[in-house]
């Protein structure tokens, strides 16, 4: 129907003077935007197929291509945005559920950007991290509240299992299947080099990556894909996925068309069969049931691995976290509503959940009030974009941060947000061999190491400025933060004073 016609979102502008019709863009674009004219002399493009991933822009040897946002739009107003109109047209035409990827793009407040960091002046002077020791190592897990001695007065040092990280940043869960083999290879190698961890997601663990086990978090979710004894033994920690920030209350569903070859092997299901992770774990209806899963995993691994429980940031998060802290979990991971995803229903992604900043502050406050903060570590994710987001999260009460979108960007993702198509031109969110090979794992690893090495320096610099020389001393130190442009209520939830106070 003509009423369904939507003018292309992006237009390809080709500088004819620079373009020598070499045809590289034709070969590079998996969306088949570019094509050669019938007489072979020119390269033309079908703008309707363009997702603005910038692959052609970046690879064109003569820099002849640019992608611009189309200015042909509906008559928008503040209520009926162009997107709202287009979404109705898409649904009226197809009867389909709107499917998107990556994090919540709506203009909700980003509280990181409304928090300012303190620095020392005169008294308690700043520390120069280039000259003086600055501790960025963190330990995730239970911290005993008392010192125990044996009958001879000697310290009993058998601590609960912990994760040791050389910096307070981990790569969060992205399954093999949602991202490529080469992307996993880069993450695993980078985590090992950096002394942190990456996370398998619910896709199992490829046999080639068992050697990175000391820097791997293995995930157990409702579908239990790829979960078996060796897998549980392989990781440094086990994460139970209860929820995901991008789609709280929604399960996962990798279509059978993507369950091919190695992806089928690591998930341990037949090729072509759907991989359905239901929204609930069907054996968990209470904190007691969660405790059972936590302890069955601990028993199976002889109490040698910390267990992480990952939840989405939702209303009542503080009470939920309090329950998890009492379930025997060693770490709680909270995923905010701006967290990424390979595919989520648009309506869920854009409307369900809460910002991780508020969730973190509420949880830390509650666990402290109940005297159980040291029973668990807190890891937060859901759009941590830079080193100051990390510093602010730690000052609000986190032990460490999960990053995924930032890691993808480091590996070459250009945030076109079409992961669900499986045609990622950058070799990340795809299983097509010809696309996967575009991502060189060594180069990906180097860029991830660069990114986090830079963040680590920045974190040390910022901590030094505050006169603080360890992450431990920054954690939950909300006096180091001030809010700007926030209401009394927001300040009270965040537990910070306003700038100037």
């Amino acid at each position: 129907m003509q009423a369904d016609y939507i003018y292309p979102h992006f237009e390809v502008e080709r500088n004819e003077r620079r373009c020598n019709a070499c045809g590289l863009c034709v070969r590079e674009c998996s969306y088949e935007v570019h094509y050669r004219s019938e007489d072979g002399k020119f390269i033309l493009s079908d703008d309707a197929k363009c997702v603005n991933c910038q692959r052609c822009v970046a690879t064109c040897p003569s820099h002849a291509i640019k992608i611009v946002k189309s200015n042909c739009d509906f008559r928008e107003n503040a209520n009926w945005s162009s997107d709202s109109i287009k979404e109705i047209m898409k649904q009226a035409g197809s009867g389909g559920v709107l499917l998107s990827s990556m994090g919540n793009p709506q203009p909700y407040p980003v509280y990181w950007d409304k928090l300012l960091i303190n620095a020392s002046q005169v008294t308690n002077p700043p520390i120069d991290p280039l000259r003086e020791p600055m501790e960025t190592r963190v330990f995730l897990g239970k911290k005993p509240s008392e010192i125990k001695r044996n009958q001879h007065g000697q310290l009993i040092c058998d601590l609960p299992p912990r994760l040791v990280l050389e910096l307070p940043v981990l790569f969060s869960a992205m399954s093999y299947g949602s991202i490529s083999y080469n992307a996993h290879a880069a993450l695993a190698a980078a985590a090992t080099e950096l002394g942190t961890c990456y996370n398998t997601g619910e896709g199992g663990l490829h046999e080639n990556f068992y050697r990175y086990g000391a820097n791997t978090i293995v995930q157990v979710a409702s579908g239990r894909f790829g979960v078996h004894k060796d897998y549980l033994e392989a990781g440094a920690a086990i994460e139970i996925k209860m929820g995901q920030g991008a789609k709280p209350g929604i399960g996962g569903h990798l279509p059978g068309s993507k369950i091919v070859g190695d992806v089928s092997r690591t998930r341990m299901i037949p090729e072509g069969s759907d991989a359905i992770s239901p929204a609930p774990h069907h054996d968990i209806y209470s904190i007691e049931d969660l405790r059972q899963l936590v302890f069955s995993l601990k028993e199976a691994t002889e109490y040698k691995k910390p267990v992480i429980v990952k939840i989405a940031a939702v209303h009542n998060i503080a009470a939920i976290a309090s329950g998890i802290a009492r379930s025997g979990a060693d770490v709680i991971a909270i995923d905010g509503f701006r967290g990424g995803t390979g595919a989520a229903p648009t309506r869920i992604r854009d409307n369900v959940g809460i910002p991780v900043e508020l969730a973190l502050a509420a949880v830390d406050t509650r666990l402290r009030a109940e005297g159980i903060r040291n029973d668990v570590s807190l890891v937060v994710g859901g759009s941590i974009r830079n080193s100051t987001d990390v510093v602010k999260a730690i000052a609000l009460g986190a032990d460490a941060c999960y990053i995924a979108t930032a890691a993808l960007i480091a590996m070459g993702c250009h945030m076109c947000r079409n992961c669900q198509s499986g045609k990622c031109n950058w070799g990340i969110a795809t299983q097509k061999p010809e696309l996967v090979k575009r991502l060189d794992p060594e180069e990906g690893c180097r860029r991830l190491v660069n990114l986090l090495t830079a963040w680590k320096h920045e974190i040390m610099e910022i901590m030094g400025g505050m006169g603080i020389n360890s992450i431990e001393a920054l954690r939950g130190n909300r006096l180091m933060l001030r809010g700007i442009g926030l209401t009394e209520k927001e300040l009270s939830i965040l537990g910070v004073s306003h700038a100037g106070e």
Binding site: V97, L98, L99, P270, H282, D283, Q292, E302
Partner: protein, 240 residues
């Protein structure tokens, strides 16, 4: 056979003794100790009494025999091995199991065989001698579930909503399953000789383990339930 007394030990200590035991063991005085045999691959465990939840979770080849009832989550995410329950089992027996066998002489609770899978050479089997609760074989993606209905209390052989979301494997229900309502996306029909051939060996083994007359069990017709598609949730999405 090494005898382990479950009295005055907790879950962790008991499991440690089981792991440490050099050879097969018998646990006596079991009253609700959980996670027995979690992830175990190498021995046979006989249990006198009633083990607690998650018996044989992640079981990786070991054999467990319970002389009594078992509770919830028997054989959770089991990969290989054998669990024999000479009594009833609770909810979610065989959750996500990928291989091995679970034989339950009596009844099973809700969600038996939920999310059961199969993979390469592995194809798990659950046989329930009596009846079972609702959501039997929910999300089943592989393997075989058999319900024999040898119970005598006159209750229905299978509860509500069996095979919801099923997208692989098969369920065999003894009898014609006339009073059972199945969801749209599965087919239930009378099992043919061919359908029965793969299951018969297991049913005979079950009968011999529990001293049940196999001829009587197999003389009845069976109903076989299979999914219509390996992709039941291929709902129409529209890219946005």
């Amino acid at each position: 056979m090494i005898i382990l007394n479950a009295r005055s030990t907790d879950n962790a200590q008991l499991n440690e003794s089981v792991r440490a035991a050099k050879g097969d063991c018998e646990i006596v005085g079991c009253i609700g100790e959980r996670f027995i045999g979690a992830g175990l691959s190498d021995k046979t465990i006989n249990i006198k009494g009633i083990p607690g939840n998650a018996l044989g979770a992640y079981l990786n080849g070991a054999k467990i025999r319970v002389d009594g009832n078992a509770q919830d989550a028997v054989g959770d995410t089991m990969n290989e091995g054998e669990i024999i329950v000479n009594g009833n089992a609770g909810d979610a027996a065989g959750y996500a199991m990928r291989g091995g066998k679970i034989y339950i002489k009596g009844n099973a609770g809700y969600r038996a065989g939920i999310h059961m899978k199969e993979y390469r050479g592995k194809s798990p089997v659950i046989i329930i001698g009596g009846r079972c609760g609702s959501f039997l074989g929910e999300y089943q993606a592989g393997g075989l579930i058999v319900v024999l209905g040898l119970h005598k209390d006159g209750k229905r052989i299978v509860g509500n909503f069996p095979c919801a979301g099923m997208h692989g494997g098969k369920v065999l229900i003894r009898g014609n399953a006339e009073d059972i309502i199945f969801p749209d996306k599965v087919s239930a029909k009378r099992a043919t000789e061919e359908d029965m051939s793969a299951a018969k060996g297991y049913i005979k083994e079950f009968c011999s383990v529990f001293s049940i007359d196999e001829n009587e069990v197999l003389s009845s017709p069976f109903t076989i339930v299979t999914p219509d598609s390996a992709n039941p949730y291929k709902r129409m999405y529209v890219e946005n």
